[in-house]
């Protein structure tokens, strides 16, 4: 079954064609990677899907319904949630309270939301930091908070915007493991990522964006051998170096 269908999405900022006629599908239950050089339009595409930016042209259907004109909170309520590339924890709120805000999407009372939030903190390994304030967290913890509070909204489709950026190898491995566990719970995931190890090992399919255009899509093994992708993004020799 197809969960998300994007058709002919275009967006320009003045003379810059950030996204040009991009069409793709997200199947229910898959992990879909989105890669491409800086400025390729990946985050812009996420902004459009999640309702933060209206597309100039094109349509998006989520679970069979058109998303045109819906605001981000409507889209979140329907079960699609995104994280931000530049993490945005609620600075003056505790880690627990950050996640409670997400959980309140599904329950009307704070005490139920607190219970859900505590579960999410346990899942993401943040339980010990529940009382820490949102400011002053390490980058790895900020990424976890982003993920925990997005999960607290009980999404069906999770859009992750560079959650691995800035993490050391150990932290990266732990986060890959965490995303696998989230996926195992039946959550469909679309992720923008520059950390090749993460995209290649997690994704069942990968989309490649370059200068706003979709230049390739397919299984990770096909993508690393695609000459166009090598030229635009990966660079020569990548296919030989990586498994």
């Amino acid at each position: 079954m197809t969960l998300l269908v994007a058709e002919g999405i275009s967006k320009s900022f003045g003379g810059l064609h950030a996204v040009q006629a991009v069409s793709f599908r997200v199947a229910d239950g898959e992990i879909l990677g989105l890669i491409g050089p800086n400025g390729a339009g990946k985050t812009t595409l996420f902004h459009i899907i999640s309702g933060f930016l209206p597309p100039d042209r094109g349509t998006i259907h989520y679970a069979g319904e058109p998303l045109a004109g819906l605001r981000p909170h409507d889209i979140c309520q329907r079960g699609m949630v995104r994280t931000f590339q530049v993490t945005r924890p609620f600075q003056r709120l505790s880690v627990l309270e950050n996640v409670v805000i997400g959980a309140l999407q599904r329950v009307p009372h704070r005490r139920d939301a607190i219970r859900i939030a505590e579960e999410m903190l346990a899942l993401t390994g943040l339980s010990e930091k529940a009382r820490n304030p949102g400011h002053g967290l390490t980058i790895a913890d900020r990424k976890r908070v982003e993920l925990a509070r997005a999960l607290a909204t009980r999404p069906r489709l999770l859009l992750l915007d560079e959650v691995m950026a800035g993490l050391n190898p150990g932290e990266t491995d732990r986060l890959i493991e965490l995303i696998r566990r989230v996926h195992a719970q039946g959550i469909t995931i679309m992720l923008i990522e520059h950390v090749m190890k993460a995209v290649m090992s997690l994704s069942q399919r990968i989309l490649v964006l370059s200068y706003g255009q979709l230049i390739a899509q397919g299984a990770p093994a096909e993508i690393v051998r695609n000459p166009q992708v090598i030229e635009a993004y990966l660079g020569e020799g990548y296919a030989e170096l990586e498994p």
């Binding site: 945005r88 609620f90 805000i101 704070r110």
Partner: protein, 320 residues
């Protein structure tokens, strides 16, 4: 826990007997303190919790004052009923301003300017409405009658102001513990992140604005029947909007005790500078008041209460 409850009961009992044992000037001081603490609490909902700074609350205040007075003077309706008419109109007006501001995404300084402009429009319109007495204003004839919100002596006003403050604080307390309150704080911290997590930021800001405006209007009715004189250039003045917002900011906006603490501190500060400096040089007391205010804002940018709480925690170890 028991110690805290006992402290609360003792404080409440103290406040109930206090006005009978202090001179009239002190009664006045306490009434003004409670009244500004109440207005601060109303402003706090929008400015402190939702983080939408309004510099135009005098307008809502004016609705409460004028609507109740006009209904009483022209139709004989008791201000106890009329004040809800004022609150309703203030809420409606806030939804108009809020729609303009929030629908078109005005944030920070731009929202502040919008609220200021709205209040200034109200002041200028009021000055040209003959029913409001123009520059002369309205004198409310004093006929002692509790049903008409008119009392002999200050003690009844003391209890009304205290009741208003208790009511306003109770509203804030309830909001703080609710989903609504949690969402307001999230909006203050980061609007986009809130939207992404499913918070209808527009709707919640509108509700906060309406509630804040209605509560402020109730304070306006109190003012009208405590002063018995309404003039657009005082009631609807920007200075008045500043008076409303400055107390929660100094005390600590976004906390329930901030506006109360701020109101007490500024009242003491104002009284102190009036008593000791007003006589020596005209305007010196205002200048000193201003300097002290700058010192507070400079050294305690988040307000007195959060700093005090942090300090108490450090001193008292882990005491929460």
């Amino acid at each position: 826990m028991i110690g805290r409850a006992a402290l609360g009961i003792a404080a409440a009992a103290g406040l109930l007997v206090l006005p009978f044992y202090v001179p009239s000037t002190w009664q006045n001081l306490l009434i003004t303190t409670f009244y500004y603490a109440y207005l601060g609490q109303a402003w706090n909902l929008l400015g402190g919790y939702a983080g939408q700074l309004s510099l135009g609350h005098a307008a809502f205040f004016g609705f409460g004052a004028y609507v109740s007075v006009l209904l009483q003077m022209h139709l004989g309706i008791s201000p106890w009923i009329g004040m809800f008419g004022g609150a309703l109109l203030a809420a409606v007006f806030s939804q108009g301003v809020g729609y303009l501001g929030f629908r078109f995404g005005l944030r920070g300084f731009y929202f502040i300017l919008l609220t200021l402009a709205a209040a200034e429009i109200c002041r200028l319109v009021a000055l040209h409405l003959s029913i409001l007495g123009g520059y002369t204003g309205i004198f409310i004839p004093f006929k002692p009658n509790p049903w008409q919100y008119q009392f002999q002596g200050k003690i009844p006003y003391y209890f009304i102001a205290l009741a208003l403050l208790a009511f306003g604080s109770a509203v804030v307390w309830l909001v703080q513990r609710s989903k609504f309150g949690s969402y307001l704080v999230a909006i203050r911290e980061d609007e986009d992140a809130s939207e992404a997590l499913g918070v209808d930021t527009f709707r919640y800001k509108m509700i906060a604005y309406g509630l804040s405006a209605a509560l402020t209007a109730l304070g306006g009715t109190f003012y009208a029947y405590y002063q018995f004189y309404l003039q657009p250039n005082t009631v609807l003045n920007i200075n008045h909007s500043v008076d409303i917002m400055i107390r929660p900011i100094v005390g600590g906006s976004g906390t329930i005790l901030g506006p109360v603490l701020g109101a007490f501190l500024l009242e003491l500060l104002g009284e102190f500078s009036r008593t000791y400096f007003a006589a020596s040089l005209a305007g010196l007391n205002v200048a000193i008041y201003g300097v002290l205010l700058i010192v507070v804002v400079l050294f305690l940018p988040r307000g007195v209460y959060p700093s005090l709480r942090g300090w108490l925690r450090r001193v008292g170890g882990s005491a929460e």
